[in-house]
């Protein structure tokens, strides 16, 4: 009878469960637009994740490539008062998986929010591990690889998925701690770490930028690590990197059943962890001081429980090596045991979280979880070891079954049960004698291109094919080439070439294998690639002499190089070539965004960066093909010599404008300049002739803009207000707010040329009133403060007028009479009017 009533009660529960509606919506995924998913790291305050997302929003443009840019928060919560995250970060630094529960939660929650195919995952701190795993999940669940990228900020991870870039500061104390925790031999050096886990290289990427310490840096365990510190100190670099990552994303015709990817399934294991966290997290808050103490000094907590918890002696100066030290799995420390309880029995339904969007399950079936592994780091200097926990079930399948060992530099690492080689030679035949478990010696990897790095200290190169070489290792039968922790190929040779991703940071290493399959992996070499750090930006092939006649030969030729990367570039390995022959051997360095003028003579060009080289004169009758070469690789070039009749743009001495008076006509050579940084320099359409306004608009001369930005390709006559992107067009709506610039190249010459006048008129030509009339002097471009009158009405007619003011007669009065009242006729024909309609 009791059983019967039990059935009745459970039936009620079942009905109630069925009554709770489930989400069954369908979502669309647009090929247009971009989604940036920001995943936060370890939190020091509850609002921090949200604040970080908003900081990113404030730094980035609202649109990219004219498409909407959505910035989403993938919230990585702090469990157990944050202590679990600290432990995770160390565990994950050893290439262990992220919390599967949190990863699934983020993916489920964002499934309905992500509406674009193109996705960039941005992870800060511990969030870097999550975005690496999210990348893996998303490409396996509907997102095309070409549509997704990854970027890390302050990363403890050993690689950036999808070959993405990262930024980590040398003053990031938390990441430095993680690195200290990894291996004693690495203390305070922040060089590559020297260990492997099951043959997989694991080492936090080293710092690649130095952000000055912020206020309070010395006192804080998180000094230099917070997202806001990165944004304040390296915001431009981060924005530039993100823009670069976005530029590589492409949409595709791939369709997903619902939305932009297939969301994870909420299985029993997921529900169990949700229930555990719903109970454990509030408990952890109430005993927050304990966890806080643990964060600050793990050794105290370990001794409190009297087990395991051997602390890494990672600091040579007697200080506690790090708060980020993992504990022995036998220890009864709360974070570890709390996760272990997930698999030991039923847990009450999660009714303690009634506000959750996802109701907790009524019945929970425990199942094995990917728990956060815990370690004991034994300080047996100088050869520290990481000893695995007692059960291989503690580790993810990829790492299970044999544990791992850690050796410090310089002997680096060894593993006795590495993964079998991906290809030749074949695995050894089983031997009845005791198994050989001794790994071969490690080798040292050298990458030829790294000796020519684009900036000192790091290996940053502008090519994607690298030449690897290494010394023979004792007992090694063959070698594996590892890229971002993944075996690419094997070889018995000691040299190979490897193709690495463009515009990305990669870790490369060599794993030595013996016939028994034992392996040992070399140090990581971290290589970053920048596909085109420098471009040929402007060519003064016609020289820089303003004269009435072309001299022969043309003097003062010059070539401008621009650094379009966000790094200071060493120029020593770059050469300029003309038609395949070396023209100039470059040297020195060029800051990010700066211009280098290679000048044939010592003409005092503007710009701080110059090289004077009496290079062989460029042809002026036919074009030369210029190229920029790094080592032996061509990085950039101008069009082929026969792409245009002569040079594709620019000119020998050219008369500027015309004159109605007696002033001398003005002649000038004109440079050939690149239309945009990203245009393909080998195409004729990527080049234009300088507009000669540079001298009046921020740097340059009639003949070009060496040492400063290229011209805007402005017209011979016109007016813009206030910037060149708001140019008055005849008979179109216009609003001249913010001051106007008059362009008058149609009147001949600059300094020696004719005088100009110009003005703003209300009405139409011959029936108007003067608003403002100016002498524009001899300038080709003149900035004024023109504004419409206060009583201007939308739809009213206005016009600009510009005319040559001869040094005789009364051109000002005569033009005024003609333009306002239609009296008489224009005194000469060298003038223009631009009528427009006021549209505020």
């Amino acid at each position: 009878m009791t059983y019967k009533y039990n059935k009745i009660f459970f039936s009620f529960a079942l009905v109630a469960a069925i009554l709770i509606p489930t989400q069954a919506s369908s979502y669309t995924c647009s090929q247009a637009g971009y989604s940036i998913i920001f995943v936060n790291g370890i939190l020091t305050s509850l609002p921090e994740a949200q604040n970080s997302q908003l900081l990113l929003k404030q730094a980035l443009p609202l649109k990219y490539d004219s498409q909407n840019l959505n910035i989403l928060l993938g919230y990585n919560p702090s469990h157990l008062g944050g202590a679990a995250d600290l432990l995770q970060s160390v565990g994950q630094a050893f290439s262990n998986p992220v919390s599967e529960h949190d990863l699934k939660t983020i993916l489920m929650q964002l499934h309905s929010e992500v509406s674009t195919q193109k996705i960039l995952l941005v992870g800060h701190s511990q969030g870097a591990f999550y975005v690496n795993e999210m990348y893996k999940y998303l490409v396996e669940n509907g997102v095309p690889k070409q549509s997704i990228g990854v970027y890390h900020i302050g990363t403890p991870a050993s690689f950036v998925a999808a070959g993405g870039q990262y930024v980590t500061s040398k003053n990031d104390k938390l990441i430095n701690w993680v690195r200290d925790s990894e291996v004693n031999g690495n203390v305070r050096t922040y060089a590559n770490s020297h260990y492997t886990v099951e043959g997989v290289i694991a080492s936090a990427l080293r710092a690649n930028i130095e952000i000055p310490p912020e206020a309070g840096h010395a006192e804080s365990d998180y000094g230099g690590h917070k997202f806001g510190v990165y944004m304040d100190g390296a915001g431009d670099r981060i924005v530039s990197d993100i823009r670069s990552a976005l530029s590589r994303l492409k949409s595709s015709d791939t369709l997903v059943e619902s939305g932009c990817y297939n969301p994870p399934i909420k299985d029993a294991g997921y529900k169990l962890q949700a229930a555990v966290f719903s109970i454990a997290d509030p408990l952890a808050e109430t005993i927050g001081e304990v966890f806080s103490a643990m964060k600050k000094d793990v050794s105290k907590l370990a001794s409190m429980f009297g087990k395991g918890g051997t602390i890494a002696q990672g600091s040579s100066n007697g200080q506690l090596a790090s708060p980020l030290v993992a504990l022995n799995p036998e220890s009864s420390v709360a974070p570890a045991t709390s996760q272990q309880t997930q698999a030991t029995g039923n847990v009450a339904p999660a009714s303690s979280q009634p506000d959750s969007q996802e109701p907790s399950p009524a019945v929970i079936i425990p199942e094995p979880q990917n728990t956060v592994p815990v370690f004991e780091i034994i300080p047996v200097a100088p050869t520290p070891q990481i000893v695995p926990g007692p059960s291989s079930a503690e580790y993810s399948p990829g790492f299970g079954g044999g544990g791992f060992a850690l050796n410090s530099a310089p002997t680096t690492s060894g593993s006795s049960s590495g993964a079998p080689p991906a290809s030749d030679p074949a695995p050894s035949t089983p031997d009845p004698t005791p198994a050989d478990t001794t790994p071969p010696a490690t080798t040292t990897l050298a990458i030829a291109e790294c000796s020519l790095s684009l900036f000192g200290g790091d290996c940053v190169i502008p090519v994607t094919t690298v030449s690897l070489s290494w010394a023979s290792a004792a007992e090694a039968d063959y070698y594996g080439i590892m890229l971002d922790g993944t075996l690419q190929s094997t070889t018995t040779a000691t040299a190979a070439t490897l193709t690495i991703p463009a515009s990305a940071t990669s870790t490369i290493a060599i794993t030595s294998y013996d016939a028994a399959g034992n392996s040992a992996t070399s140090d990581n070499v971290i290589v970053s690639t920048i596909s085109k750090p420098l471009i040929i930006n402007e060519i003064g092939w016609a020289g820089a002499l303003t004269a009435a006649l072309d001299p022969s030969p043309i003097p003062d030729q010059w070539i401008e190089i621009k650094n379009i990367s966000s790094y200071d570039i060493v120029l020593d390995n770059f050469d300029l070539y003309a038609n395949g022959s070396q023209l100039v051997d470059l040297s020195g360095s060029l800051p990010a965004g700066a211009y280098l003028v290679v000048q044939q003579t010592g003409t005092p060009f503007s710009g701080a960066h110059k090289i004077t080289s009496p290079f062989t004169s460029l042809s002026t009758s036919a074009a030369d093909r210029l190229s920029l070469v790094w080592s032996t690789a061509e990085i950039d070039s101008t069009p082929l010599a026969d792409a245009c009749p002569s040079w594709c743009a620019g000119s020998t001495l050219k008369k500027l404008g015309s004159t109605a008076g007696t002033a001398s006509d003005q002649y000038s050579p004109l440079s050939m300049e690149r239309i945009s940084d990203t245009s393909d320099g080998s195409l004729a359409a990527s080049w234009q002739t300088t507009d000669s306004y540079g001298a009046y608009l921020g740097g340059g001369s009639l003949w070009g803009t060496p040492g400063s930005a290229n011209s805007f390709n402005l017209p011979e006559a016109g007016v813009y207000c206030p910037g060149p992107n708001n140019l008055a067009v005849a008979n179109q709506n216009f609003n001249p707010s913010g001051g106007c610039t008059y362009l008058s190249k149609f009147i001949s010459g600059g300094f020696f040329g004719s005088n100009r006048y110009g003005g703003l008129y209300r009405g139409i030509v011959s029936s108007s009133t003067e608003v403002m009339v100016h002498s524009l002097g001899k300038s080709l471009a003149t900035v004024t403060t023109d504004e419409v009158p206060a009583d201007a009405v939308a739809g009213e007619d206005y016009f600009f007028a510009i005319w040559e003011n001869r040094n005789f007669g009364n051109d000002v009065a005569n033009f005024s009479a003609y333009l306002t009242a239609g009296t008489g006729s224009p005194p000469h024909g060298n003038y223009i009017t631009i009528p427009w309609i006021y549209s505020p």
Binding site: Y5, I8, F9, F12, A16, L19, S35, S45, L46, P47, A49, Q50, Q53, L54, L55, K57, Q58, A59, L62, N70, I71, L72, L73, G74, Y75, P77, T105, I106, Q109, L110, E113, V114, S115, M231, G235, P354, D355, S356, Q357
Partner: protein
């Protein structure tokens, strides 16, 4: 034993009825809770500042200094969702820049939500999306990163200006969840 069985036969039906009533009560409480949550989310999503708020036509009087910080929600005499002390401070700081004032008021109103309207994950998410929309509105002003973050930081300090408010504000973020951008136009008032 027989007496126990007899007793059980007598009380089992009242117990069953009580159990049914308990389940009905739980379900109705849950329904009320979801209704309240849904209403608050809708209120958050539809709240907007008006031209009168921006132009000063709706400007509240100076609040009584003895009560201005006495409660978490503070004084909002003109009922526009922006605390009067914050609203007046923004008007004093940006008397001549209507666009900046509008964006600042919209941001202040969004920040106040975390003190008054957040009690679960859906209400936090709606508030966070509203805050994100307010930030986008500020970005549209093209102030630059430093000026924009200075502005939002200053307003947050105006809104979260006491220890009690700071505690409530922090606790609202216990409901943080993954989320995207709110749809629609960012600025409540088009300048």
């Amino acid at each position: 034993m027989s007496a126990v069985k007899t007793a059980w036969r007598v009380i089992r039906w009242p117990l069953l009825i009580l159990a049914v009533l308990l389940i009905v009560w739980i379900l109705s409480a849950l329904a009320r809770y979801l209704d309240q949550s849904s209403e608050t989310v809708t209120a958050i999503q539809t709240q907007k500042i008006t031209a009168a708020d921006v132009d000063g036509a709706n400007l509240p009087p100076e609040p009584d200094p003895t009560i201005v910080d006495a409660t978490i929600e503070g004084v909002d005499a003109n009922k526009n969702g922006i605390r009067d002390d914050v609203e007046l401070a923004i008007f004093k700081k940006y008397p001549d820049d209507r666009a900046l004032r509008a964006a600042a008021l919209q941001y202040a109103k969004a920040e106040q939500l975390f003190l008054t309207n957040v009690f679960n994950t859906p209400t936090w998410k709606a508030s966070a999306e509203t805050l994100g929309r307010a930030v986008t509105c500020i970005v549209e002003l093209e102030l630059g990163y430093k000026s924009a973050t200075d502005l939002t930081s200053q307003i947050r300090h105006l809104v979260v200006n006491t220890d009690d408010r700071s505690e409530v504000y922090e606790s609202a973020f216990k409901f943080t969840t993954s989320h995207g951008d709110a749809a629609g136009i960012a600025c409540d008032i088009q300048i």
